[in-house]
Subunit: 366 residues, 2 copies
């Protein structure tokens, strides 16, 4: 299963909106064939592995199949993997996690068992979830998995009081950040950042066959039509302001303007999350200013923190997040650390919202 | 040598103001005897190891001795270890680091070589330094090694705006903090913290044969004579204010009042560091408020950061350090991460001042 998960990881930038899945076929401790899910519309991991076995002239009857997600049992853009597996007659299928779709989860397992195949499920389930939090979140709760990318000094500043922010974290951290952009479906920022910094928001520092959608929260629809992010790639603008002419001009530049309800003088962020979930978005990478980052946290939209910390103290300056003063520490926004590692001279800390992670875990285990 | 360093680590709370040193005697890959330096005035590591060999009836002539610090060649409270080694006739002595005292460094090695013993030096030197940064700092530059213990949220707050600070980090982090108190020679705080929180400052959560001195920076000599820290253990008060009566009363409670020059309306912190260096202090553990912590950083007294980070965001509140606003990031106080690890639900980050660490490393290598 570890190898199946490693295969799934090789397609981290590729399969969206489908999940990253790996499949390994083994008999008597010998690896017969393996595969990973291809880009959307292409073959799933099981089909890739079965195809490789066939190309090698290997009959996998009686073998064991390891697959990191319950095989699909419905006709999507590809035929059901369960049918292909049953036809190939393995004696045993070991699965990391259930299909998180409550309407179909369990059917793949049931059909395999009905065909007389021994099925084990739940092996390294959490590791498989870690490769697919967005897919599972979209299926289980209807909204994407969202992480906030922050880069700060040890004392939590993203810039000096005079605005200087280049550079607190180093080039290795910025390159690592592009890995996270590349795996996401949407890179989200705020209009304030677009107006102030004119970021490109594309994936540049890692090689990827797929660029995420660029998205901007722009309540008053103030974004500059000449901004660098309008480079022909897909852009979504979430706004509360109707301006048909501007929207039409931006449509020519491949930008879609999405009008959403207002919530306290700003785009209703929960509505934005539902809209993105309905539009097949699995993972959202947020790289925004302290205002939007703080608003997302307050709106309970933040599932994970991706925090690059530079080993420096800078004193007074701009905080990572604009938040209201709390009256009690019981009201603090709490996460659980999942990783801490050196990225060049900086540290990268990952922390997840524990309750929301547990909910996803429940959705993919019995 | 790894074993010698592990032995040195077992006496981390014990040997001060002497260095933590381990010694291992080996022949043909067989461990013959070993030892670690005892409390000040007691035997050094080499003597402990030689004594163990004698008790076991083992002649170590021709064996190899691994010792994590150059053997002493002068008469202190104990006779020179070099004499004992020469008498025991090992064929080879492997040493981690030179004696950092510029007046005596190299003499131990020279005397061993003059006696016909093969000597190698510099094996795991940096690891040995990491066990003795304070001893080396005091010898090499005349001042102790100082670390700032901080406990904050991910956004760098040590308390909410209303002052609430219990608890941001958890009980495991607090217990780990006592390990660092226990290895230090002085636990330093400010009078503001004493007046506000009335801390005890003793080592409680780990078992130790030795309590560090408690010290207070108290420019205007405002400390409350009934404060909990005056429990009969040694206390030093650094002040710019003369009050002979109060000093005499506190002397009865085992507190020494040290009058120091004023520097910009506060105790001259550099003078305090020199005073402590002259009084055999190797390591200073600072657990203070944002005012003293910030002043120590500004006075270039901070060699290392010991930062416990809780996985929570709290918004506006009290910063870790009170610092002036910088005009340029080039003025930031920069460190280099040396460790990041989970301590219960929190993270502990260690970071050192790179230049000052390099200076110590130069003092103990050729």
């Amino acid at each position: 299963m570890r190898r199946a998960l490693a295969l799934a990881e090789t397609v981290l930038y590729v399969t969206s909106p489908n999940p990253r899945v790996g499949c390994v076929i083994v008999r008597d401790g010998v690896l017969l064939a393996e595969g990973a899910t291809q880009k959307a519309g292409g073959p799933h991991a099981e089909v890739m592995a079965l195809r490789q076995a066939r190309e090698r002239g290997i009959d996998i009857a009686g073998a064991t199949v390891y697959v990191s997600l319950e095989p699909c049992s419905h006709h999507g853009r590809t035929p059901p993997c369960v049918d292909a597996l049953i036809e190939a007659k393995p004696s045993r299928v070991v699965i990391a996690m259930h299909d998180p779709n409550p309407l179909v989860g369990g059917r793949g397992v049931a059909r395999l068992r009905a065909a007389g195949i021994d099925v084990a499920i739940g092996v390294l389930a959490e590791e498989s979830l870690a490769l697919n939090p967005g897919f599972v979140a979209r299926m289980a709760r209807g909204t994407p998995w969202l992480w906030l990318k922050l880069a700060a000094s040890l004392d939590g500043r993203i810039a000096l009081s005079n605005g200087q922010s280049q550079w607190i974290t180093g080039s290795a951290a910025r390159a690592d950040g592009h890995h996270w952009r590349a795996r996401s479906c949407v890179v989200l920022t705020g209009s304030g950042t677009v107006l102030a910094d004119d970021p490109h928001l594309g994936v540049r520092e890692v090689s990827t066959p797929r660029q995420p959608v660029k998205a901007v929260v722009d309540t008053r629809f103030e974004v500059n039509e000449q901004a660098r992010l309008f480079d022909g790639s897909r852009v979504w603008i979430f706004t509360c302001t109707h301006n048909a002419e501007k929207a039409a001009r931006l449509a020519d530049r491949n930008a879609l303007v999405v009008e959403l309800p207002d919530s306290g003088g700003r785009v209703d962020l929960a509505a934005m999350m539902r809209w993105m979930g309905a539009h097949d978005i699995n993972e959202i990478h947020v790289e925004a200013g302290s205002r939007l980052s703080g608003a997302l946290l307050q709106a309970d939209c933040v599932d994970e923190l991706l925090l690059y910390m530079a080993p420096m103290l800078v004193g007074p300056g701009l905080d990572m997040l604009r938040l209201p003063a709390l009256q009690d520490l019981a009201q603090a926004w709490r996460f659980a650390f999942t990783d801490a590692r050196a990225i060049g001279p900086d540290l990268r800390l990952n922390a997840r919202h524990a309750g929301r992670w547990s909910a996803l875990l429940s959705a993919i285990t019995d």
